[in-house]
C-alpha cells in the first residue's frame, strides 16, 4: 500500500523568486518525514509538487519508481490534509469522508454498505464516532482536522501529505494531536510527509527530518542526527536556540580573544569562524579561570529551567545560559562561562540567519 517516494533534483520557480533549487530526497515506504523550514523556504511548494498540485520545472518525483508525471491526480492517490482543512462546508462529516469513494467510476465504487462501513471505521480511527451527521461549521478546530485526515485516509492513499497539520490549533490540542498522529501512523503505516515550521513538532514526531532553507535541503537525518550533529550553521540555529560566539581556529582549538574555548577534534582548518553553543551547554565557572567572562544582566524563567543573560565583551548579543541548579548567580554579578560542547561553522561561508 505504502510507496517509496523519490524526489530527484526537483526545481520550481515562481514568477518572482525560485522556490526550489534542485532538491533531492528519498523516502522509504511507511516512513514519517518532516519538512522543516522557515516560511519561504520552499517546504510547502515541495509538498504541493509531490501531490501534483504544481508542476516542477525540472527534476522528477517517482512513487515506487513510477514517474508521477504519468499519473493523473486520481491515480496518484494522495491523501492531502490542507492547513485550513478545506472541508466541504455543505456536506456532513460522513459525506465529507465518503466523497473520495463516491466520486469513483461506478465500476470501482464500493456499494453503500461498504462506504458506510468505511466511514464508521475511519470515524472510530479518528475518534469522532457519533459526529457523522454534523456539518464542519459545528465542529471544533481539532475535530475538523481529524475529519480532514479521515477524508484523506478514505481513499487508501499511497502517500499522506500534511501541510502544517497543527498550525491552526492551540497549544494543548497541538500536543494531544501530535501524540495521536504518531500513534495513528504506527497503526496505519502510510508513507507520510508533513510540513512544519515548528522544530519541536518535527523533532518529536518524525522518523527523519529534512531541513529546508531558501529552496535547498540543508540536512536530512533522524531527529538525533540533525539536532546533535547539525551540518550547517542554519540547521544549528534553526533547531533550538544557540549562542553565537566569534572565534579563531588555530591548532585544533577554538580561541576567543586568544584564550582556548573548546578543543576541536579532527580539524586542521584555521581562520575566523563562529562557535554555536546551546544555552544548556554553557557552564558557570569562576570569572578568573574561564575564557568567557561577563555580567549577568537578566534572569528569567524559561520553561523548566531558569535562564540568565550574560553580557560578554566581544560577543554581539548577550549569551543565554541555562541555570542547572539552585546555584544561581545574582543580577549584575560577574561570572565566567565554560563551553561544554558546541559546533563551529566557518563564518562568511554559511547563510546568515537570526
Amino acid at each position: 500500500m505504502s510507496v517509496a517516494v523519490q524526489i530527484d533534483r526537483v526545481s520550481k520557480g515562481f514568477s518572482t523568486y525560485p522556490a526550489l533549487k534542485g532538491v533531492s530526497l528519498s523516502i522509504e515506504p511507511g516512513e514519517l518525514v518532516a519538512l522543516l523550514g522557515p516560511s519561504g523556504s520552499g517546504k510547502t511548494t515541495l509538498l504541493r509538487l509531490i501531490a501534483g498540485l504544481e508542476q516542477a520545472d525540472g527534476g522528477a518525483i517517482t512513487f515506487n519508481g513510477i514517474d508521477t508525471r504519468r499519473l493523473s491526480l486520481r491515480e496518484r492517490r494522495i491523501g492531502f490534509v490542507f492547513q485550513n482543512y478545506a472541508l466541504f462546508k455543505h456536506m456532513t462529516v460522513a459525506e465529507n469522508i465518503a466523497f473520495g469513494l463516491s466520486v469513483r467510476p461506478r465500476s470501482q465504487r464500493p456499494d453503500r454498505q461498504a462506504i458506510q462501513k468505511r466511514i464508521d471505521d475511519l470515524l472510530d480511527l479518528v475518534q469522532l464516532g457519533g459526529l457523522q451527521q454534523r456539518f464542519p461549521a459545528q465542529l471544533s478546530g481539532g475535530q475538523r482536522q481529524r475529519v480532514a485526515l479521515a477524508r484523506a485516509l478514505a481513499i487508501e492513499p499511497q502517500v499522506l501529505l500534511l501541510d502544517e497539520p497543527f498550525g491552526a490549533l492551540d497549544a494543548q490540542v497541538r500536543k494531544d494531536l501530535r501524540q495521536w498522529l504518531r500513534d495513528l501512523h504506527r497503526r496505519t503505516g502510510h508513507t507520510t510527509l508533513f510540513v512544519t515550521h515548528d522544530q519541536e513538532e518535527a523533532l518529536e514526531l518524525a522518523d527523519r527530518v529534512a531541513i529546508l532553507n531558501q529552496g535547498l535541503i540543508e540536512q536530512v537525518g533522524t531527529p538525533d542526527q540533525v539536532y546533535d550533529h547539525p551540518a550547517t550553521a542554519f540547521v544549528c540555529g534553526f533547531l533550538g536556540e544557540a549562542n553565537r560566539i566569534p572565534v579563531e581556529i588555530k591548532n585544533g582549538q577554538a580561541l576567543f580573544r586568544n584564550r582556548p574555548l573548546l578543543s576541536l577534534k579532527g580539524t586542521n582548518a584555521t581562520g575566523g569562524a563562529e562557535l554555536f553553543v546551546r544555552p544548556q551547554h554553557l557552564k558557570i565557572d569562576s570569572p578568573e579561570l574561564a575564557a568567557l567572562a561577563g555580567d549577568v544582566t537578566l534572569i528569567r524563567r524559561h520553561g523548566a529551567v531558569r535562564r540568565a543573560e550574560v553580557e560578554v565583551q566581544g560577543v554581539d548579543r548577550p549569551l543565554e545560559v541555562d541555570l542547572a541548579s539552585a546555584v544561581a548567580p545574582d543580577l549584575g554579578e560577574r561570572i565566567g562561562l565554560r563551553v561544554g560542547q558546541g559546533h563551529v561553522f566557518a563564518g562568511g561561508l554559511t547563510p546568515s540567519f537570526n
Binding site: L73, F99, P136, A137
Partner: protein, 303 residues
C-alpha cells in the same frame, strides 16, 4: 474574607434595561443582553423608513383596490384579458429568470475563474442593464429584433419572429434581469478557496464532479436568491418591454401595461386591482421561495 458590601451585589430590575414601564412594552424584542448599542433607535428608524417607503404605499394600493370589493377583484381576475396578461407576465418572468439563473452563474464563473483581456470591461458591462433607462433598452432591443432589424432580419429569413411577440418580451426580461444572479453569485464564488477544488481533485473527483458536487451546492443559495430577485424585477418590468412586445391584447400584453391602460381610461380602482393581484402573486412566490431556501439551507449546513 470581608463581607460583601451591598453596593457590589449585582442588581437587576427595570433600571438595568434603560427603558421602563410602558415604553418597554413598545419594543418587545429588545435584547437586553446585547452588547450592540442603539437597538431602539435603529429599530425605530428602520420601521419608520420601511413604513414610509414600502408599507404605506402598498396599503394605499390595497385600500384603493378595496373599492372593488372581494367580488369585484374576483371578477377582475376572471376577465380573460386580465387573466391572460397576468399569466403572460408571470410565465415569461419565470422563464426569463430561469435563463438568468443558468447564464448568470456561467458569467459569474467566467468572471471569477478566468483572467482574460477585457475582463474588467465585461465585469462593468454586467451592470449596464441596471444603469440604462429601461425605455432605452426597450427601443434598442426592438430595433434589433424587429423584422427589419439586424437580428430580426436574419431570423425572419428562417421564419422566426421575435420582435412584437411574447418571445420578444422574454428577451427584454432576460436583458434586465441578468445582473441580479451574476452579482449575487460572484462574491460567493470568489470566496471559495482554491484549496476546496484542489482537495476534491486529489480525492479523485473530475472537474465536472467538482463543479456539480462541491461548487454548485456552495453557490446555490446565492444563485437562487438572484433568481428570485430577477423574477421579481421581471414581473414588474414595464419600460423595456412595451416597445418590443407589440402589446396585442390576449397575446403579448403584459400586466403592468394593462394597469397603465386602465389608468389612461380613468379606471383607477381597476388599475389598483390588477396591481394588487400582481402584488399578491409576487409576494406568495417570493415567500414560498424563501421558505424553500431556508429549508434547503438547514438540510445542507448553511447554518
Amino acid at each position: 474574607m470581608a463581607s460583601l458590601h451591598p453596593a457590589v451585589l449585582p442588581h437587576d430590575g427595570p433600571k438595568a434595561s434603560g427603558l421602563t414601564g410602558r415604553w418597554q412594552a413598545l419594543v418587545p424584542f429588545r435584547p437586553d443582553s446585547s452588547v450592540l448599542p442603539g437597538f431602539t433607535l435603529a429599530m425605530g428608524l428602520t420601521l419608520t423608513a420601511l413604513s414610509l417607503i414600502v408599507l404605506i404605499p402598498l396599503t394605499a394600493l390595497a385600500l384603493k383596490a378595496g373599492d372593488l370589493g372581494f367580488s369585484g377583484l374576483w371578477a377582475l381576475l376572471t376577465t380573460p384579458r386580465v387573466l391572460a396578461a397576468l399569466k403572460l407576465s408571470f410565465a415569461l418572468s419565470f422563464a426569463a429568470a430561469l435563463v438568468n439563473l443558468l447564464f448568470g452563474v456561467l458569467i459569474a464563473w467566467v468572471l471569477v475563474r478566468y483572467d482574460f483581456i477585457g475582463r474588467k470591461w465585461v465585469d462593468a458591462a454586467i451592470d449596464l442593464p441596471f444603469a440604462l433607462p429601461t425605455a432605452v433598452a426597450g427601443i434598442a432591443l426592438s430595433a434589433l429584433y424587429a423584422p427589419n432589424g439586424w437580428i430580426g432580419a436574419v431570423l425572419a429569413r428562417y421564419g422566426i419572429k421575435i420582435g412584437y411577440t411574447p418571445t420578444g418580451i422574454w428577451v427584454a426580461l432576460v436583458f434586465i434581469g441578468i445582473p441580479f444572479v451574476v452579482r449575487m453569485v460572484q462574491p460567493v464564488l470568489q470566496e471559495i478557496e482554491s484549496e476546496i477544488e484542489e482537495a476534491a481533485a486529489l480525492l479523485g473527483a473530475s472537474r465536472f464532479q467538482t463543479a456539480m458536487r462541491v461548487l454548485l451546492p456552495a453557490i446555490a443559495p446565492a444563485a437562487f436568491t438572484g433568481f428570485t430577485l430577477a423574477f421579481a424585477r421581471a414581473v414588474g418590468e414595464y419600460g423595456s418591454v412595451i416597445f418590443i412586445a407589440g402589446n396585442v391584447p390576449m397575446v403579448s400584453e403584459i400586466a403592468p401595461l394593462l394597469i397603465v391602460i386602465k389608468l389612461e381610461q380613468y379606471d383607477y380602482s381597476g388599475a389598483a386591482g390588477v396591481g394588487l393581484l400582481m402584488l399578491a402573486g409576487s409576494f406568495a412566490i417570493i415567500l414560498l421561495a424563501n421558505a424553500g431556501l431556508a429549508l434547503w439551507g438547514r438540510r445542507h449546513g448553511h447554518a
